[in-house]
């Protein structure tokens, strides 16, 4: 930061000083403005250096967990600590699978996350279509209710939820984890916003003229049109579901029912913490996500940014 940045801002209406003004008395020519913009936005070396540092801090903990996962425990006591991968990865992976039913846990997580994702995307598109393109009484109020529920900390309802699962005899089954995740307020809101812009009303009109029922319109016109947003919502939902921990920890007890996050915490909760074992498990649980991220990260970014502007 330069010295000028640290100088106290002039007192007075500092914030609104420029906000309302879009042009100056002596308005610069178009070319001058373009040059000005280029000058102002040309990032210096310091900017890149900062970003590289940020990237380092973002990536290093994940990289380091891989280093620990590929070595044995005695390596951790070395001075200086190891910063390069070792040759023990395969042995550690085998130990993870021998200690907890990690394969089952991975599979359970796949089942839960896939079901939750499919359901959230479907129901969100359905409700989003209704809110965005159909007319009905109370639509506005109900949409406000959806937005409001996005802020409700439902995690605090765990105790009655647990009692409900006992009542339904769903405790220690994957159903108990899937059921509360079947719908998402964020999903409904996200889809409503998207379909408002992406779906021309005339298209629905002409389909109606041709005698198509509302559901047929949904199935043949809305679903294909919603695909880009469905991918974004799907990735975000899958990730959230895969990473869920608190509720699965409470409601799933037997080892062969655990999701991968719960298995991971079991692994780390031993009396003597076996670091390379624990971090190998962490790596195994994170790798699928990194693969998803590498393939679909762009969609995640656009999803987060779209949700932000409208949220």
């Amino acid at each position: 930061m330069t010295r000028a940045d640290l100088a106290p801002a002039p007192t007075g209406a500092a914030d609104s000083r420029w906000a309302g003004r879009t042009a100056l008395p002596g308005r610069p020519t178009h070319r001058a403005r373009a040059r000005l913009r280029a000058l102002r936005e040309q990032p210096g070396r310091l900017v890149y250096l900062t970003l590289v540092a940020v990237l380092f801090f973002s990536g290093f903990p994940l990289y380091y967990s891989f280093v620990v996962a590929s070595r044995d425990n005695s390596a951790l006591a070395q001075v200086p600590p190891p910063v390069l991968p070792g040759a023990n990865l395969v042995a550690n992976v085998e130990r993870v699978f021998a200690t907890v039913p990690f394969g089952t846990a991975l599979w359970n997580s796949v089942i839960v996350s896939a079901s939750v994702t499919a359901s959230v995307v479907f129901f969100s598109t359905l409700a989003g279509f209704a809110f965005a393109k159909l007319e009905f009484k109370g639509a506005k109020v109900l949409l406000v209710a959806v937005v409001a529920t996005m802020m409700v900390p439902v995690q605090l309802g765990v105790i009655p939820l647990f009692m409900l699962m006992i009542e339904l005899e769903w405790t220690d089954t994957l159903w108990a984890v899937i059921a509360p995740g079947l719908v998402s307020a964020f999903g409904v809101f996200f889809m409503t916003q998207y379909l408002r812009g992406a779906l021309p009303g005339s298209l629905i009109e002409s389909a109606r003229m041709d005698g198509a029922s509302t559901f047929r319109i949904f199935w043949q016109i809305v679903m294909p049109a919603a695909r880009p947003a469905a991918v974004v919502l799907g990735v975000l939902t899958f990730l959230t579901s895969w990473n869920d921990y608190f509720w699965p920890l409470i409601v799933l007890s037997s080892p062969e029912r655990q999701t991968v996050q719960v298995a991971l915490s079991t692994l780390s909760g031993g009396y003597v913490t076996d670091q390379s074992l624990v971090l190998t498990g962490t790596m195994l649980a994170t790798l699928p996500l990194l693969a998803v991220f590498a393939l679909l990260g762009k969609y995640m970014i656009s999803g987060i940014m779209q949700g932000a502007v409208k949220g």
Partner: protein, 325 residues
């Protein structure tokens, strides 16, 4: 919309529709009227059953002496709340939670603001930097907690090794109150800074360029532009992130639990409860010792009130900043 117009327009012109025609019309009207409600019903029904009802029912359970181990649910009024307010472990947990919340949220959102500011520049490889920034968010809270517990380890942790080579002494991160809060706050901030930076970036991109040009011609430096142009203009987004981070931060669970090793030491948040948060306290009473559902519900409902209160205070505070300037 024109659907309504069409609905009235369609039947006219046919003075005496035949019976099958009338049936078709009826079906058409029913479809038009009922479909929207049918389509939003799954969301509202499922949310009511698995989200809203449990939360509301928590208040009812909290007025009872209610345990999983006994069938008798004795009504005790506000008794659980009385016990709760008299328990110094509860106040301890509340204090820890607020301390971790502040340590995690304030630096995180400031850093996110600065990062977003950098990302608005004309950078080469925009997607690359954004992806890099979001990378930590992909890791689960469990993974983050496990990895950082290792990094902050007393004996073999990398952080202590760096500190020692810099000449500072080793720190027993877990045993101290402040140090453990810092370690946990780092976990939260690491995971969420990039995510919030992207949210700010999206908001910043919708600020009209002319405003910056005017500010620039008036001689405002980039930092001044950030705090006097950008921040006021993206205030709704800032309010949004502050409230969301607060709601998240007040319910923090996995990070302290796993930092304490996952076992009994994790549930109490360290040997002297130095980093036990409210959700850990709830978990301890509700699911770890005797399934005291009544008491744990009182904890949950109190947390709910705290969350509403803190969110409201945040909102008022940020609004005040606006009216002051």
């Amino acid at each position: 919309m024109t659907i309504a117009a069409k609905r009235t327009a369609d039947p006219t012109g046919r003075s005496s529709p035949t019976a099958p025609r009338r049936f078709q019309l009826l079906r058409y009207r029913l479809d038009l009227k009922a479909s929207p409600y049918l389509y939003i019903a799954p969301f509202f029904v499922l949310f009511a059953v698995f989200g809203l009802f449990p939360l509301a029912y928590t208040a009812w359970v909290s007025t009872h002496e209610w345990s999983l181990l006994s069938d008798a649910h004795v009504f005790v009024g506000l008794g659980n709340y009385q016990t709760l307010l008299g328990d110094r472990y509860f106040w301890n947990a509340l204090g820890n939670t607020l301390s971790i919340l502040l340590l995690a949220t304030v630096p995180q959102l400031l850093a996110a603001l600065l990062l977003a500011h950098l990302l608005t520049l004309r950078l080469r490889g925009q997607t690359f930097w954004r992806m890099g920034m979001l990378l930590p968010n992909v890791a689960s809270v469990v993974a983050v907690a496990v990895i950082f517990s290792q990094l902050f380890g007393r004996d073999f942790g990398l952080v202590n090794w760096v500190l020692e080579s810099l000449g500072a002494g080793r720190v027993d991160w877990q045993s101290g109150s402040a140090t453990s809060h810092i370690a946990i706050a780092v976990m939260v901030a690491w995971k969420w800074t990039g995510y919030n930076a992207l949210i700010y970036l999206a908001a910043m991109q919708s600020v009209p360029r002319e405003v910056y040009e005017a500010a620039h011609l008036d001689g405002a430096s980039r930092m001044q532009q950030l705090f006097h142009v950008t921040v006021p203009m993206i205030r709704p987004t800032i309010v949004f992130t502050v409230i969301v981070s607060t709601i998240y931060g007040l319910q923090i669970f996995a990070e302290p639990q796993l930092f304490g090793g996952g076992g009994p030491n994790g549930v109490t948040g360290g040997a002297s409860r130095q980093f036990q948060t409210l959700t850990l306290y709830l978990y301890e009473h509700g699911f770890n010792r005797g399934f005291e559902f009544g008491y744990a519900s009182a904890v949950a409902w109190t947390m709910f009130l705290v969350i509403v209160l803190v969110a409201l205070l945040n909102y008022l505070f940020i609004r005040r900043i606006r009216s002051d300037s």
